[in-house]
């Protein structure tokens, strides 16, 4: 069954709403033991990387996700901060450790450009590069973003990456085998976002 991880550090009601809309069975889980029987995992996240990273390690989810995702190869989709958690480290409010599934760090967006409005908030288009998870979605479709930090990839080997542009190229989607991360909020991105989640569930 699809398991949606609730780290209790932000609102995940919108993700649940879309999954219900798609008519997919799921279980909302707050304890790592509840990952048993997971066929797919969604890791949503809103708010701060530091708070979410602390929670994922303290709760035991980091270890459990490592077992399910790395060893058992269960497909996972991280959304926003959930996507950032897939990285090795984050630099928000001091350095903290992520899950390390993707060789990347999470840094403030374009910190050299003071004129840029932060957060990067609103609709921005993605060069979807025909990755399967963007099936039936036009290239350069707009998705809803809201974030101040973004993933900087340190090792591109075996990665599929789709970018959006905000002062510089910003990682919008990252994929390594069965591991997927979306910096944007598919659950807030109207039809294209619903299609993206449907694709994760049906194709990945």
């Amino acid at each position: 069954m699809l398991k949606i991880v609730d780290l209790e550090v932000g609102n995940i009601g919108s993700v649940i709403k879309v999954i219900k809309h798609l008519g997919v069975d799921f279980e909302l889980i707050t304890q790592p033991e509840q990952l048993i029987g997971a066929s797919k995992i969604i890791l949503p996240g809103v708010g701060s990387f530091t708070a979410a990273a602390k929670k994922i390690h303290e709760s035991g989810f980091a270890q459990a996700l490592n077992e399910y995702v790395v060893i058992k190869k269960t497909p996972v989709l991280g959304i926003c901060v959930g996507m950032q958690l897939l990285a090795s480290t984050g630099e928000e409010g001091g350095e903290s450790k992520g899950l390390g599934f993707i060789n990347a760090t999470v840094k403030r967006i374009n910190s050299f450009d003071n004129s840029l409005i932060i957060p990067h908030m609103g609709w921005n288009d993605i060069d979807t590069n025909e990755f399967p998870i963007f099936n039936n979605i036009d290239n350069h479709s707009c998705f809803y973003f809201v974030h101040s930090y973004a993933m900087t990839i340190t090792d591109h080997a075996n990665l599929n990456v789709a970018y959006t542009n905000y002062g510089e190229d910003v990682v919008a989607y990252v994929n390594k085998e069965h591991i997927h991360g979306a910096q944007f909020h598919p659950e807030k991105s109207q039809h294209v976002g619903i299609q993206f989640l449907r694709n994760f569930i049906e194709l990945c």
Binding site: V46, G47, N124, H147, K188, G193
Partner: protein
């Protein structure tokens, strides 16, 4: 490239949608759930829902109404009205709000902005500011009174430094008049802060929305012309596109 947003603004008197003129002279426009459903079908960029009686009646915007509205929304939803506690925010987020707009209580207790931003993240905290125009000058307006002791520019800078993630600027003088938005106010605010600014108040038609969108604002909020004329959010986006302003 990041798109400029066109945001329908929906005002509530607790349970019904209404539209005001200069924050007075009300018209009742029915159920917020129906209105939200319509806007969702119209594929709008975002929706803002504000309960304008909540502060006066010493309550927060009703979270069960928000829950019903959120069911109809697959786009970002900002809600505000009478919010004064962390618990108010938690309750509304749990019912499906994405961003929380704080107005009167931010003026009363500015440190609440920081407290809320630290807990929920800047992206979640919108500070809403009501502004009146007197002979080309702008003043903060709160609960029926003009505040002459706090400069608008000082307040927006302070709000930004306290961790607000977005500003919602309501031009009270032009509210509901459909006389045209104030480019001067939109410029004044958007040129002084590095967080997104939504300008609201007086938009007369899609051409006027484009004039405001040409400033550094991130979004234009509109109510009256969507309620009372045939113009839709799509018409506004199409007009902006003709002016080479990036829209979805």
């Amino acid at each position: 490239m990041l798109r400029k947003r066109i945001i329908p603004i929906v005002l509530l008197d607790g349970f019904s949608v209404l539209k005001t003129i200069n924050f007075n002279s009300r018209r009742n426009l029915g159920s917020p759930i129906t209105v939200a459903k319509t806007y969702n079908t119209r594929n709008v960029d975002e929706l803002v829902l504000l309960d304008i009686d909540a502060t006066k009646q010493k309550r927060a915007i009703d979270k069960f109404t928000i829950a019903e509205v959120a069911k109809e929304c697959f786009m970002p939803l900002t809600v505000g009205g009478g919010i004064r506690t962390i618990k108010d925010i938690q309750g509304l987020l749990a019912k499906g709000a994405d961003k929380i707009s704080i107005n009167s209580y931010a003026l009363e207790n500015p440190s609440f902005i920081k407290e809320a931003s630290d807990i929920f993240g800047a992206q979640c905290i919108v500070v809403s500011i009501d502004v009146v125009e007197i002979e080309d000058s702008f003043y903060i307006y709160n609960q029926g009174e003009i505040n002459y002791n706090l400069e608008l520019v000082d307040w927006i800078k302070k709000v930004e430094s306290l961790g607000a993630g977005e500003l919602l600027i309501n031009n009270v003088t032009r509210d509901g008049t459909m006389q045209g938005g104030s480019v001067k106010l939109a410029e004044l605010v958007s040129n002084r802060v590095s967080i997104p600014v939504i300008y609201v108040g007086g938009i007369s038609d899609p051409d006027d929305a484009a004039l405001i969108a040409k400033t550094n604002v991130s979004a234009v909020g509109i109510a009256s012309i969507f309620h009372f004329t045939d113009f839709t959010p799509s018409d506004c986006r199409d007009r902006l596109r003709l002016e080479n302003i990036p829209v979805r």
